[in-house]
Amino acid sequence: MTVTPGAQRAHPGFLAGSPDPRNLLIWRLYFSVDEPMVDVLTELSNHLSARAASAQALVAAIKLADDFHATGTLWGADILVASEQSLPRREEFPVIAPGGASFNASVVGRDRGTNVAVLRLAEPLSSPVIVQGEAKAGTLALAYGADGAGGATARMGIVNLAGPEWLSSAGGRIDKRIVLDIRLSAGEEGGPALDVAGVCLGITTFGPRGQVLVIPAATVARIVPALLRDGRVARGWLGFALQPVAVPDALREEAGQASGLMVMSLAEDGPAARAGIIAGDIVLGMNDVPAGRFRALARQLGTESIGSKAALRVIRGGIILSIEATVEARRPG
């Protein structure tokens, strides 16, 4: 292949004499054979490394053991947000702040539902500014982690998926399903995911099979104040473990649904046990809302359900009956 020096080609009309800075990159690409010092890759790389340098102020290493750490994202001057599943059940962790200084941070609260944990640093740091933004599929994403010595590690990829709201298996509502086309090492989990404008999409976490998900900034912003206030996010709780089952053919018509949730075990002295629910009962619905599936029931057990009466429609011994229980707040742990 022969390389034609750009200067010998006719200028594309839209470029000629245009002062528009958006055309600068195209100019440089066009003349890059003549002027290798301003080539676009070098420029891209310089921009990326500048972004990584400023992202350093956002990440702190949460020490789990001598050689292991997780990443925390500085959400405020003394507030560190982390992926809940990455932290062992401890009250306090040593933290390496940006620049390398060591502090202690105490766990203020954790929420398994949204996978968010909040820690408070013993001393406030210069407060970084987190600008929240929305992820869009196909855009470039930059993910940062703590390197454990005060610096930042960097990853680049694209937003693989930006889908609708979803419910986690622990019952938390996540504002958007965000998947990154990025791999992370274990120590980087919990760091910020930014778009190219430096806007924070959320914090990274591992989904099933090592897939990298983002807990959206909107979800973090919703959960952090609740954790700072109460140390937890209260969810409604009935105290039974359920497994989906098919409704027996003979009862399907009367039940009006093909599936239900069979009670496999009961928390001792939990609301369901006290209401007289027994193992083997099949829950069909709650407060006239069919609950043949987990999602339908989970949606009815938000914070606002605590203290309310739950009329449970259940199958027991071939008969459909109604049992009333009082929803409690999920016990910690």
Partner: protein, 186 residues
């Protein structure tokens, strides 16, 4: 804890391998022999049932089901365990201990998944599955549940279809994984 005596002795255990894929069966058989135990051809009289589960686990897992077939007591081991680990796990499960292996990758932050309605078991099918776990034959299951042999066969076939299993032990192993992953506390 009903059957601790045989496991406490140093004797080899009789392991029934529940796998429909002949290649997996051959590999598991070699693995059992390497761990110093016998592979037997029938679940009847076996000390342990060993199976490999692919779905819906995040990775392949060996499932060790104790005599009596209590799924709550079944052991779970990474598929790349060493033969020394398999030996220890077989003996521990036979002695009524719980076996879990820490090197399995954590499940990760996952969505609440509702399984496809056509794969859900009926309460009757769950009862039949429990009987299978106790090692009962179809004839004994019919007597226990007070239903006809024909009906038992119908339920077993339906179980196999819904679980994607071809043997009774495999159905147990798959339902164990389902139970573990598909039971949620509210």
């Amino acid at each position: 804890m009903s059957n601790p005596a045989p496991a406490l002795s140093a004797r080899s255990l009789r392991v029934f391998i529940a796998a429909s894929d002949p290649r997996i069966r051959t590999n598991l058989r070699a693995f059992v022999l390497e761990a110093g135990h016998h592979a037997v051809d029938s679940a009847d009289g076996a000390d342990i049932v060993l199976s490999l589960v692919r779905n819906p686990a995040p990775e392949d897992r060996l499932i060790l089901i104790p005599p009596g077939g209590d799924l709550g007591q079944a052991g779970s081991l990474a598929a790349d365990a060493t033969s020394a680990q398999l030996d220890a796990a077989l003996r521990a499960v036979a002695a009524g201990l719980l076996v879990r292996s820490p090197q399995l990758t954590p499940p990760g932050f996952a969505a609440l998944v509702d399984s496809a309605p056509e794969t859900l078991l009926t309460p009757r099918e769950i009862e039949v599955l429990k009987c299978i776990g106790e090692g009962l034959t179809n004839k004994l299951i019919a007597r226990r549940l007070n239903i006809s042999l024909h009906t038992v066969k119908f339920h077993v076939e339906s179980l196999f279809r819904k679980l994607g299993a071809t043997t009774r032990a495999q159905a147990l192993a798959i339902s164990f994984e389902r139970y573990r992953l598909g039971t949620i506390e509210f």
